[in-house]
């Protein structure tokens, strides 16, 4: 690289253009490889026992449960990298060590006495809501249990 800086300008420009093209090609190759790697799955070097691949099934399942959107390959790749990063914990030897419940586990759980000290702030709370109907929060419909008459099952009680 240092030789480029001392070369005449015309040559420098050519070299720069070539370098840019090469870097671009390399980036595309890397990108392609990582994309291919995601599609085929790769084995994380950190932990040979577990594949670092997050399958499309798992992504779909997570999207439904957690209501997040893994919109792009980038997001999934980032997820895999995060898992691989956390996996490094396995390198620590924890044989014979009792797992903690939480970092607060040796604190005292405070017991509150049974008195009414809060509430009566409906107006304040409803200010946060997008839509309000007569002091109720409004949500989209969901989980209506009883189907309409025509959708009733064929087996009727005898």
């Amino acid at each position: 690289m240092s030789s480029l800086l001392s070369a005449p300008s015309a040559l420098r420009e050519d070299a720069l253009r070539r370098l840019k093209r090469e870097m671009w090609a390399r980036a595309v190759k890397l990108g392609l490889r990582s994309w291919v790697g995601w599609r085929r799955g790769f084995t994380s070097k950190a932990d040979p026992q577990r594949s670092g691949r997050v399958t499309a099934e798992v992504i779909e399942h997570l999207e439904r449960l957690a209501l997040v959107d893994f919109g792009s390959l980038e997001a999934v790749a980032r997820l895999e990298k995060a898992i691989a990063f956390a996996d490094r914990l396995r390198a620590v030897d924890t044989d014979g060590v009792e797992p903690m419940e939480s970092v607060l586990e040796d604190r005292c759980l405070y017991l509150r006495s049974d008195n009414v000290v809060e509430g009566n702030c409906a107006e304040e709370l409803l200010q946060n809501a997008h839509r309000v109907v007569e002091e109720y929060f409004v949500a989209p419909p969901g989980n209506i249990s009883l189907p309409k008459q025509d959708e009733q099952e064929p087996f009727s009680h005898i």
Partner: protein, 529 residues
């Protein structure tokens, strides 16, 4: 776990399922099976026809049903489980909601001492082992009435495990034929209640009221040791009585303080358990029994026609008397349990392990609570039987009817009549009148004092028993009059004067000389009563 046989019987218009222990059958050849018979023109669910299946020539197997229950009881406390807002049944929407209940960022849960005590009391009453260390977890699912997106519960290590609940079921047509069964309790845990959603279908929206969100619940998980609707209903009734006696929950199903979900499956005895379905939306003991029995029938019907049972959640439509699948609940839910990071483990102590110099407000001593447990229904019934010599089934009736035991005890206090007489009058005549007019004990026009006075008159032989019945009817109709007043008004007193009685008898006998010795003897006897 016994695979109990189901025998369906219909007593007149009432639907009764008697569960008979499998050991009483004689051998496989006498397979009872189930037969079906349609009643023509029957569409209402009030009259349930007799259901049984004709035994096929191939020698059809019997079916055994397995029923497990998950019961949620709202803890009777002033404030909620993790916040200081009030617990109250009817209040303007969203008026009993704190910032924590609405899940506003920056709020943290603070455990209510009364709820822990309630859980320990219930655990002790149900013979559970109380875990000295229990943990809180988050159970994640999205629903509009769960503002945080998770419910704080105790999945890994609940507060009480491995208990038992004894209840009794009738095993024959006579009321005296009752048998005691036990159902194991898997665990009791503390958890939060969710808010209430009101579905507004025409406008395609759901209205959310968070007054109930965060109220403390006791979840009691019963092992699948039951086999029919009646057993389940009896177990739930007994649990209700225990919770009410302890004061830990008012356990009123109609007000939603006690909610039951049933897990039902059927299988052939000896074979592995079948696929189970969960039935929700059961808000009375009667519907519970109906729904379970319907679901058992439905599953048997499906399996016998070669179809499979789906592991799904169904709800019970009481108007149609059948279970329907619930939408939005297909497939297994993954709750992604995780430890609640904002709550350290809950530690309980007994007298031996109590740390010295600890703030009494901040520690809970299991032994202290055990010593102060109120009297449980089983013990009350025992005492009634011993003290008053009544039959077991009478003690059950006395406790089952709300307020009847108190009424009975008040009458006993004020009367000199024999306890057996009082029992008979309260359970047969008084209760009979109540049921006829569909009244609760506290709506009765007859007070305990009035009945006590009436029984005193009867005991003194001032009136005959038939006259007493007349007086009772009169008392029922007209308020304000005392039994003595009615007796004198209607001249129902028995004649006490021996000589006058003899004169009357002689007059009668002389007037009817054809009546023989037997007749005369009867006349004398009648006048002496």
């Amino acid at each position: 776990m016994a695979a109990l046989m189901l025998r369906w019987s219909c007593l007149g218009k009432r639907w009764v399922l008697a569960c008979i222990d499998g050991g009483s059958r004689h051998g496989r050849g006498a397979a009872i099976g189930l037969t079906s018979r349609r009643k023509r023109g029957q569409s209402s669910v009030a009259q349930q026809p007799l259901i049984a299946v004709q035994k096929s020539r191939k020698g059809e197997h019997e079916w055994a049903a397995v029923v497990g229950l998950e019961i949620h009881a709202q803890i009777s406390s002033n404030s909620k489980l993790f916040s200081g807002s009030q617990v109250h049944f009817a209040a303007p929407p969203n008026s009993l909601v704190s910032f924590f209940d609405a899940s506003l960022p920056g709020t943290l849960p603070v455990l209510n001492r009364r709820c822990v005590e309630a859980a320990v009391m219930t655990g002790l009453a149900l013979n559970c082992r109380i875990n000295k260390k229990s943990l809180f977890d988050r159970k994640h699912y999205f629903y509009a009435d769960l503002p945080a997106g998770y419910q704080i519960t105790q999945q890994r290590l609940p507060i009480a495990v491995n208990g038992s609940l004894a209840y009794s079921v009738s095993v024959g047509k006579k009321p005296s034929q009752v048998s005691t069964r036990t159902v194991r309790i898997k665990q009791i845990q503390l958890e939060q209640d969710s808010g209430k959603s009101l579905h507004d279908e025409p406008r395609s929206q759901t209205l959310i009221d968070l007054n109930r969100a965060g109220v403390g619940l006791l979840e009691v998980v019963l092992e699948p040791d039951m086999s029919c609707g009646e057993e389940a209903a009896s177990a739930v009734r007994e649990l209700q009585l225990i919770l009410q006696a302890l004061g830990t929950s008012q356990a009123n199903m109609a007000e939603g303080q006690l909610r039951v979900d049933a897990n039902i499956s059927v299988h052939h005895p000896g074979e592995p358990l079948g696929v189970r379905t969960e039935v929700k939306n059961l808000n009375s003991a009667r519907f519970l029994a109906k729904a379970i029995d319907f679901e058992i029938k439905r599953q048997i019907h499906e399996l016998e026609n070669g179809r499979k049972i789906l592991n799904e959640t169904r709800s019970f439509d009481d108007k149609l008397g059948c279970t329907m699948p619930m939408r939005d609940k297909e497939g297994k839910q993954d709750y992604r349990f995780m430890p609640e990071p904002n709550l350290p483990p809950l530690l309980l102590y007994d007298t031996a392990s109590l740390p010295p110099g600890a703030d009494p407000q901040q520690v809970i001593n299991i032994d202290w609570i055990r010593e102060r447990l109120p009297e449980l229904p089983g013990k009350t019934r025992e005492k009634l039987i011993q003290q008053y010599g009544m039959l077991p089934e009478h003690s059950f009736t006395l406790l089952n009817e709300v307020g009847l035991l108190e009424f009975f005890q008040n009458v006993i206090k004020e009367t000199r009549a024999e306890p057996k007489k009082v029992t008979s009058w309260v359970l047969n005549i008084f209760l009979g009148f109540l049921k006829q007019q569909n009244l609760a004990v506290n709506e009765s026009p007859v007070t305990p004092s009035a009945l006590a006075e009436l029984l005193n008159l009867l005991d003194r032989k001032a009136i005959s028993s038939s006259a007493a019945r007349q007086v009772f009817e009169e008392l029922w109709q007209s308020k304000g009059k005392t039994p003595s007043q009615i007796v004198s008004e209607k001249k129902l007193e028995l004649m006490q004067d021996q000589e006058a009685l003899e004169r009357v008898c002689h007059t009668v006998m002389e007037g009817h000389p054809q009546v023989g010795v037997e007749g005369r003897r009867k006349a004398m006897h009648f006048s002496a009563c």
